[in-house]
Structures are given as C-alpha cells and as structure tokens.
C-alpha cells in the first residue's frame, strides 16, 4: 500500500509537470506560426502581449521573451516604411528588457544574437546620423557573433542580405550581393531543422519575397 501510494504520488507529480510543459508547448505552438504572418501593428502588439504573459508565467523559458521582443521590433520595423520614426524608440524601450531577459536565460544563442542585431539596427535607423557609430557597430558585431555561434542559422543570411540589399552601393551595399545572400538563406532554410516545434523558424516567407524582387 505504501509502495502504491508512493508510485501514485510520483506519477502525479510527473504528470502534473508533464501537463505543465505540455500546456506551455501547446500555448506556444498556437502563437509561434503567427510570428511569420502577422504584420499589422495591432496584431503584433496582441501577439507580443500573449508571449509576454507566457514569459512572465514561466519565468525560466527564454523563447517567450525572445518572441515578445521580436514582435515589438517587427512592429517598429513597420514604422520605417511609414516614416513614423518617433514611434520607434518607445517600442525599442519595451523590447530592450525582454531581449536582455532572453539573453540572461540562454547564453550564446545565435537566434538571440540575430534579434540583438535587429534591435540595434532599429535603434540606429531611428536616427542614423547620430547613432551610426554606436548602434550601427553593435548591430554589425551582434550579427557576426550570431554567425559564429551557428553558421547554419538561415536568419543570419536573411538579415545580412537585407542589410546589403537596402544599403546604397556607395556605402558598400549591393543588390546582387543581397540576392546572393537571400539565395544562401534559402538553402539554409531548406536544410534547417528547428530544435523543436516552438524554436525560431521564421523568415522563409521574407526570403521568398526578396527573391521575387529585382
């Protein structure tokens, strides 16, 4: 009887924690695909809030922090197209602690370094003349680290390609070099297997879009 009670207790604890992590994965699985498809500012806020709730409940998982920060940065990137530069910094201010938290929980991760690159590029783009020196350099450094940590990460080549594609030729940009990088990214995407169903896998639709451009 004692033994069966012990078994019952153990299995109860096991099941509960299993249920808990299954709940986490299920909740994440419901949200993660939306990262690749959500473009509207309101949609991104909603998505970011959902990730942030999971992040705050779990506390030790880096992925929800990562995705929450990514959504805010993606939202900020939308404002470069509409030239509403003054809306960028407030969003970056929300993204910054989320990014820092992800980095604290998961050290030396290529995906987080990619996000760090995006964060710094966004900060720079809000005021390029004055921030080129500081944020421009940190962005380049972060991307270099991301590549070093995982040369097979397709998002490294996507981000590098976007940089090259949009930088004027006089500053070392090149549309053809950009294209080459998008093709490289495509190859990496084809070979890329995310560590789990909820690990970062976004970006392929962007690569496809860039490959259709001239």
């Amino acid at each position: 009887m004692k033994k069966s009670f012990f078994v019952l207790l153990t299995s109860f604890i096991l099941i509960n924690s299993f249920a808990q992590s299954e709940k986490y994965i299920k909740a994440m699985e419901a949200l993660v695909p939306a990262v690749d498809t959500t473009r509207s500012p309101d949609g991104l806020t909603q998505l970011a809030n959902s990730f942030e709730r999971i992040a705050n409940a779990e506390k030790t998982m880096w992925l929800p922090f990562y995705y929450a920060a990514l959504c805010h940065i993606n939202k900020a990137n939308g404002y470069f197209q509409t030239q509403e530069l003054e809306k960028v910094d407030p969003l970056m201010e929300i993204a910054e602690p989320l990014l820092a938290k992800a980095e604290e929980l998961e050290k030396n991760n290529s995906e987080i370094m990619c996000l760090k690159k995006m964060f710094n590029t966004g900060k720079m783009m809000a005021d390029p003349m004055n921030r080129f020196m500081t944020f421009g350099q940190s962005a380049a450094q972060a991307l270099e680290v991301a590549k070093g940590l995982n040369p097979e990460n397709p998002r490294v080549y996507l981000l590098e390609g976007i940089d090259k594609y949009y930088t004027p030729e006089q500053y070392g940009g090149s549309k053809t070099e950009g294209k080459r990088l998008f093709e490289e990214a495509m190859k990496k995407f084809e070979a890329f297997k995310p560590a789990s169903s909820i690990h970062p896998s976004w970006g392929i639709s962007q690569v496809k879009y860039f490959l259709t451009l001239d």
Binding site: I15, D42, N130, F132, M133, G172
Partner: protein, 751 residues
C-alpha cells in the same frame, strides 16, 4: 493492470478538472483618466497564461483557466500598471480599468523657454543634433559659429563671443561639465574675432540658453552656454589631420573591460600658408601660430558613476602692422603672446534612495603679453609726439578656480529637487607699462560664493514647473544678491507646447573696468519669455517673444587716464520676437533651418552719453542653413546664408567732463554666404580599418563687402571701416582616423 487503471483515472480526472473549471469570462474596458479608450493594453492574470489585449475601443475579454483568488494586472507603455485582486469562480467578471499616465522623459512636456539643445536625446528642446554644430557651413567648425545661426544671437564679426538679445559678449558665460570656463575664446585681438579654444568633438551635448536659465548657473546677465563632454569612446583609435592651417594628431585608448579610457592629442596651427595665398588686410611680422595639447581620462567608478578629466594647454603668438590711422606714413603694430592652461575634473554618481551627486572642479591659468607701438615705413619702432600713448605693454596673468557640487533627489516620476553650492575664485594681475617705462600695476582678487536650490515639478505629462532660487555673495562688492527663477511648460497637444520663463540674473562688473574708485554693486537683468513650439515628425516650429530689463549697469569714466567703472547708474531694456523653423522631412536627404530675430534694444552703460541702441545690436538678424547629403557622391554639401541689418556705430569722445558723440551712423547690412563640401570616401565600409574625411570650405563665397563698424583716429578727424581680415576664406583639409569609423565627424576643422 490495476495500477494502470489508477494512473489513467488520475490523468483523466486532472484533464477533466482543468477543462471543467475553465469557465470564467473576464471582460471590461481600459480607458485613460480623460475617458479615452486605450488600445493595445495588456491584461493578464499574474503568473498565468490567461489574458488579452485591448482593442481600438479599449475593450477586452478572455476566458480564464485559473481559479480562485488571483491578481489581475493591466499595463501599457506610458501608463502606470494597474493591479486588482479578483476571485475567479464562474460566470462573467466585468472589470473596467482606468490607467494613469506615467510621467516619463519620452512623454513629458519639456521646459524649453529660452533654450536650444543640441543632443541625441529625443526631447522637445533638442532642435539640433550634436553633429549640426560641425556641419553648419558658416560655423567654420566652431561651436559658437553654429549657435550664431540660431535666433537670439547676433552676427557680430569684429569680436568673438555670443551677443545674445541685446547683451554684450561678456553677458554670456560658458560652462563645461557644470563648471565655469574662463578664456573660452583665444585672447582678443583688435577688430579680429577669435575662435573658441575647444574642439566641438569633445562635447556630446550643448545647451544654449538665450535667457531664463536655471538657478544652477549664475553671473551671466544674458545667456548660458552649457557644454557636456563625451563619455567613454566606442573604441580605441588614432587620428591624424592635415590642412592648410596645420596638423593635428591624437590617440584615444579604451580599456579592454570598457570601464575606462585615456587619450591625448596635439595640434600645431600655422597660418603662413593660408595667408600666403589669401591676402590679409594686416601685414604680419609673426603669422599666427598655435600649439595646443590636451589629455583626458574617463573612468566608470560604478554602474552609474563616472569620473572625467580634461586638461588643455595652449600657447600662441602673433604680430602684425596696419597703416596707422593717426599718422600718415606710419604703421600701428600689435603683438600678443598667450598661454593658457585649463583643467576640468568632474564626478557624477547615483546614490541610494534616488539621490544623485554631481561635483566638478575647474582651474585656469591664463597669461597674455600684449605690445602696441608705432613704426615708420621701414618698420623701425618710433614714438611720435602727441601719440606717445600708442606705445604700451600690457602683461596680464589670471588664475581662476571654480568648484561646484549639486545634490539631486528624484521624487515621483520626473519630479526632483536639486540644491548645492558653488565657489568661484579669480585673481587677475595686470601691469601696464607706458612709453616712458612708467608702470601701472593692479590686481583684483574676487571670491564669489553661491548657494542654489531648485525643484522640478511634473504634475502630469502635460504640465511642468521649475522653480529655483540662487543666492550669491561677492567679496569684492561685499554684497549679496538673491535671484529667483521660474519656468513652466504646458502641453497643448501632440508635439505642441507653450512655455514661459521668468528670472532675475546678476553679474559682477567686468574685470576690465576694475578696480573702481567707488563702491559698486551687481548688474541686474530681468527676463520674461514666452514660447510656442511644435515639433512633429522631423519638423520643428518655434516662436518666442521676450522682454529683458537691465538695471545697475556699469557706467565708466576716465580716472588716471584709464576708463574704469564709476557707478551702477546704467540701465536698458531689450524686447523682441524670434522665429525658428527646421524641416528634415519634405525633401529626402535635405535638411534646412531658417531663423529670424527681431530685436529692439536701448541701453545706457559704459561711456554712452544716454540710452542708445548699442553698436552690437542689429534690428533684424536671419540665417538659412542647408545640408544636403548626396549618396552617389558620398558628399555632404552644406551651405548657409547669414544676414543682419545695419548696426549703429558711434564715435564717443570725452570732452574733459562729459562723454559726447563725435560721429554716429549705421553700417551697411551684412550678408555672408558660406559653402562646405565634405567628401567621405570610406563611409559605410564596415570592415574599413581607417576613415577619411576631406573638407573644402569657402566663407563669403560671393566676395560681398562686409563692414563691422568704424574706427577713428585719436583726433576724430579720420575714420576707417572695420572689415574682415580677408573678404573670402578657403579652407582645405584631410582627416584620417584609424581603428574607428568616424563618419559623424564630417568636418574636423582644427582652427
């Protein structure tokens, strides 16, 4: 088998329990305290996945899986988080939420009356970026040159300094990292404006107050120029510059842990080459040559603390002759030798309980050796009968010491109180030697002690008030003054605000009119400023009106053949209207600003026979500054146009008892068009190990005749226009830096 059954039962009951209990619906509306809906707010049950985001009408709803007593948290950027205990049982729970605005630097109104800020902080007062200081074509790489394109400052070309809103250059004081800087400019030379001593690249922030400034600063009737030096560099680097004016080189080292840095630089400027090509009005026997060296260190004393040192040394000399206005066929010779040492040490640190300390010390030692005499056509020194006074020598030595400490306590939001003290010591020694070797020495020692307190009150994001009080004691005057300061700002709408400022400002009589035979008191100015500013999406409009009243200005008289202060019976006023418009948006890669100032001022001071518009005040002043970046050429094309309407000029003579006008009139309008090209061949090359900037700069490109005033012969019969040393000036230089991309240092004019 039985065990498995139990196991299944447990699993099923757990799943069932969770499914069955997921029944509470939480909904409501999120609004701000004005009743407007807040979209995008995050609503959550603390430490759970449950929650939602409010829609464009502020509405939210979600099904809660959690049970029992829980904490509902509602948050949104710019608002204080809202928390409420809720009991999740069943049915529908409606919770409407009102979020209170959080007062933050990004959202709060800014106290901007009378203030121009050049910084990278995104604030309403920051209408300029740090880089604007060096990319303004007419600025010649000089800090005050750029500020002269802003409303409030005059286009005075015959002497250095900032003449603000009817005030003299001496009414503007400069502060580096909180402490007073004496000798901000190179020593005065008759009718030739001198440059500032400090490179614009050592500063990251510039605040130019054209009136109504904070109680932390004093001893300036008109204006305060507040400069903040850079923190740690981004990386170690070496740089080298070569131009038609000279060479400079430097090195900055950043420690591996990025907690400290040190650096030094040296520059040698020699105008021989430039003067050989560009004909000067003066005939130089010693072409201006400057040695300059500086050194610095910066140490992060903690996460929030920073200790900074900047030390500067310079030595320069020049000598020239001009055709004498007093005696035909003879020459007037002027020569000066200057050496200057400046040390500045500052420390700031965050203390526990939201306290902050700032402390700074500066020390200056300045020596000038000035010679004046007459020469015949063969450049032999001569002393002419009746003109003996034209031969003299002035030896001056000045020692200045300034220490200041400010304590700040942050209250709720952005509100804060600040208080502290300041001590200013100055010791000026002068020996005047006449043609007959008779010496007239004098020395003036002064101690000014000040205490100040001010408080920033941010009631909401829309209303801010700064109230301050400054108390000073001057040893030489043996008097005290109490100066209240007040400014407030109110947000009218998105990016639009109105500001007001009021203040009383005191200043000691200028050293050059001391010692005085009589007891003197502080000179006094009272400022009233009203401002409207709209800054939306890369466009800034700023309109300001002001009234300034002067009391107790120094009047001078002739005692012992020298002009010195005799009483404080002077007075005056100034009023005006100023306009500033900047637009970075309308045309891509093109940035321009327009400023206009209207000034109506009269004063009776120094030797003025009665209240008149002083010779340094123009009624209309305007500037247009344009900056165009051409990506294909990798070039910055900057042009500027400065205008000022004719200023009055006077020849005031002393008839033995009274001052009277011997002559007066108005000089022609002033026009100056300047142009600069900066070529940056390596911009954007991320892996470049070196960076180069090539500069071509032409001032007064259309060769327009500029007249700054008139000078008169001793007997008053002859007058001569005061004009620039050359009509046009061309500057060519190359600047290289190694180890760091310095693309923001588009011009490094080492003048």
């Amino acid at each position: 088998m039985r065990k498995f059954k139990t196991f299944s039962a447990v699993v099923i009951s757990i799943i069932l329990f969770q499914a069955v209990s997921a029944q509470v619906m939480v909904k409501g509306i999120v609004k701000d305290n004005k009743g407007n809906p807040i979209a995008g707010a995050s609503i959550s049950i603390k430490d759970s996945y449950d929650g939602a985001t409010s829609d464009s009408l502020g509405r939210y709803s979600f099904k809660a899986f959690e049970k029992g007593p829980q904490l509902l948290v509602v948050s949104n950027i710019g608002y204080k988080s809202f928390e409420q205990q809720v009991k999740l049982e069943s049915g529908v729970l409606t919770i409407d939420v009102v979020l209170k605005q959080e007062v933050t630097e990004l959202t709060a109104v800014v106290l901007s009356a009378g203030t121009f800020e050049a910084s990278d902080r995104k604030r309403a007062a920051a209408v300029l970026d740090p880089i604007d200081i060096v990319t303004t074509a007419s600025a010649n790489g000089d800090i005050t040159g750029a500020l002269k394109t802003l409303p409030g400052a005059q286009q005075v070309g015959e002497s250095e300094g900032l003449f603000v809103r009817g005030g003299t250059a001496a009414e503007t004081k400069t502060f580096i990292d909180g402490t007073l800087v004496n000798n901000f400019f190179f020593s005065s030379v008759p009718n030739i404006a001198q440059f500032g001593r400090f490179s614009p690249f050592i500063f990251k922030g510039t605040v130019f107050s054209t009136g109504g400034y904070s109680a932390l600063y004093g001893q300036a009737l008109s204006s305060a120029l507040i400069l903040e030096s850079i923190d740690l560099p981004d990386q170690s680097s070496a740089n080298l510059g070569i131009s038609v004016l000279g060479i400079n080189g430097g090195y900055q080292h950043l420690s591996k842990n990025k907690q400290s840095s040190f650096g030094a630089s040296y520059s040698y400027t020699d105008l021989s080459l430039a003067f050989a090509v560009i004909k000067q009005r003066q005939d130089y026997s010693k072409v201006p040559a400057y040695h300059g060296a500086d050194a610095n260190f910066r140490i992060k004393t903690s996460k929030t603390g920073m200790l900074k040192y900047y030390g500067y040394f310079s030595s320069n000399r020049l000598a020239f002759t001009t055709n004498s206005i007093d005696s035909l066929g003879y020459l007037d010779k002027f020569s000066i030798q200057n050496s200057n040492v400046f040390h500045n040490l500052s420390w700031k640190e965050n203390l526990p309980k939201r306290w902050k300390i700032f402390s700074g010390i500066s020390y200056t030692n300045n020596k000038d050796d000035i010679n004046s005499n007459m020469q015949d056509n063969n450049k032999n020194d001569v002393v002419l009968n009746g003109l003996e006074f034209k031969e003299f020598n002035v030896d001056t030595k000045g020692t200045y010491f300034n220490v200041k400490t400010v304590l700040e306590k942050k209250l709720k939001g952005l509100s804060a109180i600040r208080f502290g003290g300041e001590y200013n010591f100055s010791y000026d020694r002068l020996i005047y030697t006449a043609y007959n070797n008779q010496q007239y020495p004098n020395a003036v020692k002064e101690h000014i002690k000040a205490a100040f307190a001010e408080s920033d009150i941010y009631a909401t994001n829309d209303l801010a008030i700064k109230a301050g009080l400054r108390f000073e004691h001057s040893a030489i005057l043996d008097k005290i003054n109490i100066a209240p300061r007040l400014s407030l700002a109110y947000k009218l709408g998105k990016g639009t605000q109105a500001s007001l400022a009021y203040g009383i400002f005191y200043q000691n009589p200028e050293r050059r009119y001391l010692p005085s035979p009589n007891a003197l008191t502080f000179m006094k100015a009272t400022h009233y400023i009203a401002q409207f500013q709209r800054s939306i999406n890369q466009q800034t409009l700023r309109v300001e009106v002001f009234y300034k009243k002067y009391d107790n200005l120094v009047k001078t008289g002739i005692t012992n053949f020298t002009e010195s202060a005799i009483n404080n019976n002077g007075f005056g006023d100034a009023s005006g209207f100023e306009f500033f418009w900047r637009d970075k948006k309308t045309i891509k890669n093109f940035d321009y600003w327009v400023s206009y100032s209207y000034l109506d001022t009269k004063r009776d001071f120094l030797n003025f026979p009665f209240a008149i518009t002083p010779n340094f005040a123009a009624k209309h002043t305007a500037s247009l500054v344009t900056k165009k970046f051409v990506q294909q050429l990798k070039m910055n094309l900057n042009a500027s146009y400065n205008y000022s309407s004719g200023r009055p000029y006077y020849n005031i003579g002393f008839d033995g008892t009274n001052y009277k006008f011997n002559d007066r009139g108005t000089i022609p309008d002033y026009h100056n068009v300047s142009f600069a090209i900066n070529y940056l061949p390596k911009i954007g090359k991320k892996d470049a190990k070196s960076f180069a900037v090539y500069v071509l700069q032409v001032s007064n490109i259309f060769n327009i005749k500029q007249t700054f005033g008139y000078q008169y012969s001793y007997n008053g019969y002859r007058k001569e226009a005061i004009v620039p040393t050359s009509r046009m000036f061309v500057y060519i230089g190359a600047f290289l830096s190694f180890g760091v991309d310095r693309s923001d240092e588009v011009i490094n004019n080492s003048l």
